[in-house]
């Protein structure tokens, strides 16, 4: 009943270039500076129980955009099958791969062989998700398929090392047997709890079923894809400082205000001290900078 088949090899010219935003969430964190206290300055402890520490930052702007991932496959039903998502497209060895749905059932029936295919992202991570907008895409049903097909698409992400559901949808389409490709469009609203999340991984799962004949073959080589709503950089930004400890074992978080940051710390004991600062955007942390000052009575 079930067999893997390379239905046909479709040579499709490389489609659109990688959309803006893909894989940019981890763009290197911008340098941070310390403007206060000034290096070499002196602070009187008796009149300054707290010391203001401030500086500038220049985080990358988090511009809304779209990251396109193509469904790709290296070899149909082989040890080198490797279904995956990629921001790059090209000709896929697994184009037209799928499972034969060779039973015909009446209206309302459902041919479901229980098989699904996972397409985990092989690149384009991390991705700064914009959960306020929808993910859209298309799963191309290729071949002379007949009937109504139901395409289940689900998105799962890796966030903080844990698998989390982004969202899912089912789209039913009556196939046109006179054309070789029936793209089935889908739209998924990401879970609101993932707003601003930095995705470490992304998986798209496709499950095709329904009262159709020969409808289990997915066209690749640029014909099946998903557009993820994203930001060009992570919206998760922070500046941390550390007193006399370049390892930041006990960091103090600063308050961000546009392109500046500040924090007040208890003035350290009398003597010479070094304050370190570093900025983090998404998973990227800047090189630490430092300033040295002296505390007197």
């Amino acid at each position: 009943m079930t067999r893997w088949s390379l239905r046909k090899l479709v040579l499709v010219a490389t489609a659109a270039a990688v959309a803006a935003g893909a894989g940019l969430a981890n763009a290197g964190s911008a340098p941070v500076t310390i403007t206060t206290p000034v290096s070499g300055s002196t602070i009187a402890l008796h009149s300054n129980p707290y010391t203001a520490v401030a500086g500038t930052d220049s985080f990358a702007a988090a511009t809304p955009g779209t990251s396109r991932f193509y469904l790709r496959r290296d070899g149909c039903g082989t040890s080198n099958d490797n279904p995956h998502l990629s921001t790059a497209t090209g000709t896929d060895g697994g184009d037209g791969c799928g499972i034969v749905l060779n039973a015909v059932v009446g209206l309302g029936g459902d041919v479901d062989q229980g098989a699904f295919v996972d397409y985990p992202a092989s690149d384009g991570m991390p991705l700064a998700l914009d959960a306020s907008r929808t993910a859209t895409g298309a799963i191309d049903i290729t071949g002379t398929a007949v009937g109504a097909v139901e395409v289940d698409v689900s998105l799962e992400a890796l966030v903080g090392g844990q698998g989390v559901t982004v969202g899912s949808t089912t789209t039913t389409t009556v196939l046109d047997p006179t054309v070789s490709d029936n793209p089935v469009a889908f739209t998924i609203q990401p879970d609101a709890s993932l707003a601003g999340a930095d995705l470490q991984g992304l998986d798209l799962r496709v499950h095709i079923h329904g009262p159709a004949l020969d409808a289990g073959f997915v066209g690749l080589s640029g014909k099946s894809w998903v557009d993820m709503p994203s930001f060009s950089a992570s919206v998760n930004k922070s500046v941390a400082i550390s007193v006399d400890d370049a390892t930041f074992a006990h960091p103090v978080s600063a308050r961000l205000d546009g392109s500046t940051w500040s924090v007040a710390i208890p003035t350290p004991a009398i003597g010479k001290h070094t304050i370190y600062a570093e900025s983090t955007q998404g998973f990227a942390t800047s090189a630490a900078v430092s300033t040295t000052f002296t505390v007197k009575r």
């Binding site: 991390p126 992400a157 698998g163 989390v164 930095d198 470490q200």
Partner: protein, 360 residues
């Protein structure tokens, strides 16, 4: 009835021990394997039956019947589990990275295994094994379900690892671990030697059909290694995919990606707790703890129960693969463990949250 079954098993065991000890232990010895889902019942992956096994090999996906018996060796009454991540930080240990995750653990497997060991103490899953005991001077001393069985973790990037490591090399690493941790109570200690993605034990790599194994160091089998070390060969089971448990409990790509690590490691840890001597018979003395006529241990008898290649949830079968609620409140995929007390004393697989209605 339960008592009768145990006595019968013990009597048979005594006969069989004599028979086994008469032969060459060197020839018959091999570690105690956990077959993968494709090799359940494969005789090449089981030690010789103890005796006239009253039942055939287990049916794939079902518990292996008949209760276990006590063979006279020690058990781990107050177990301590030491995790060794050998070479995970060495060059070439992994072929990929994950953003925001340490390069020495890109899939989070080490973190998951560590969390599991920290969380397993005091759980219902571990508690299902407190019915087993060792006999010290005529007194039965039961295994305790202590809240903290975590002995420590060691990322050993000093002693070079390589691909296709041997069992002897794993035993040597266990010895180094014992020294590293300063372990003196070997009876209650076990060492899990976990390997990274690209450097694994030779038999696992060869496709012999197992996911992991545990053993007990004796000079005959591990020359030059300190005797009396209970250790587990824990390969990077994600390399074997669903054959070693990937997505066998949780169906999501990422949520189920690490299922096999806790299922397989949990199997070996609990087998080591109830049979740290690994069924060894040395000079006529049986070092083994608890297993059955067919030499199946508490994990073997319940391995992959309910597993249907993803067609149906395994937990729908009593004793099937399920979850352990850890002492940290989180759920960890596990297999069930054989419980002589379950099913009114007839025995069944228990502890994975899907026990038979009648349990002991």
């Amino acid at each position: 009835m339960k008592k009768l079954l145990l006595l019968a098993a013990l009597a048979a065991a005594v006969v069989s021990v004599a028979a086994r000890s008469a032969g060459s232990a060197d020839v018959t010895h091999h570690p105690l394997y956990m077959p993968n889902t494709q090799n359940i019942g494969n005789p090449a992956l089981q030690p010789p039956p103890v005796c006239c096994a009253p039942a055939g090999p287990p049916v794939a996906g079902e518990p292996a019947p008949v209760n276990m018996a006590y063979f006279g060796g020690h058990v781990q009454v107050t177990p301590k589990i030491y995790l060794v991540f050998w070479g995970w930080g060495e060059p070439g240990a992994f072929d990929h990275v994950t953003p925001g995750v340490p390069s020495y653990d890109p899939d989070g497997a080490a973190a998951r295994m560590t969390a599991f060991v920290k969380a397993m103490g005091g759980t219902d899953w571990a508690g299902s094994q407190t019915q087993y005991y060792e006999t010290d001077n005529g007194v039965n001393v039961n295994i305790q379900n202590v809240p903290n069985v975590f002995g420590g973790v060691w990322y050993d990037n000093t002693n070079p690892i390589h691909d296709n490591v041997s069992g002897l090399e794993l035993a040597q690493e266990a010895q180094r671990a014992a020294a590293h941790f300063g372990v003196t109570d070997l009876h209650n200690s076990q060492f899990v030697i976990a390997q990274p993605q690209k450097y694994n034990e030779a038999g696992f790599n060869s496709g012999a059909g197992y996911c992991a194994w545990h053993d007990y160091t004796q000079p005959q089998y591990y020359p030059g290694v300190q005797p009396g070390l209970s250790f587990t060969n824990m390969p990077y089971v994600l390399n074997s995919g669903s054959s070693c448990g990937q997505n066998s409990v949780n169906t999501g790509y990422y949520t189920g990606r690490l299922d096999g690590f806790t299922i397989v490691m949990g199997h070996e840890i609990e087998e080591t707790i109830t049979d740290p001597g690994a069924e060894d018979v040395i000079n006529g003395v049986n070092l083994g703890g608890w297993y059955d006529y067919a030499a199946y241990e508490n994990g073997d008898k319940c391995a992959w129960v309910g597993y249907t290649e993803g067609i149906a949830p395994p937990s729908t079968v009593p004793g099937g693969l399920g979850t352990m609620k850890g002492n940290d409140g989180k759920l960890y995929p596990v297999q069930s463990l054989w419980s002589n007390d379950s099913a009114g004393g007839a025995g069944w697989c228990a502890g994975a949250g899907d026990d038979l209605p009648v349990t002991g």
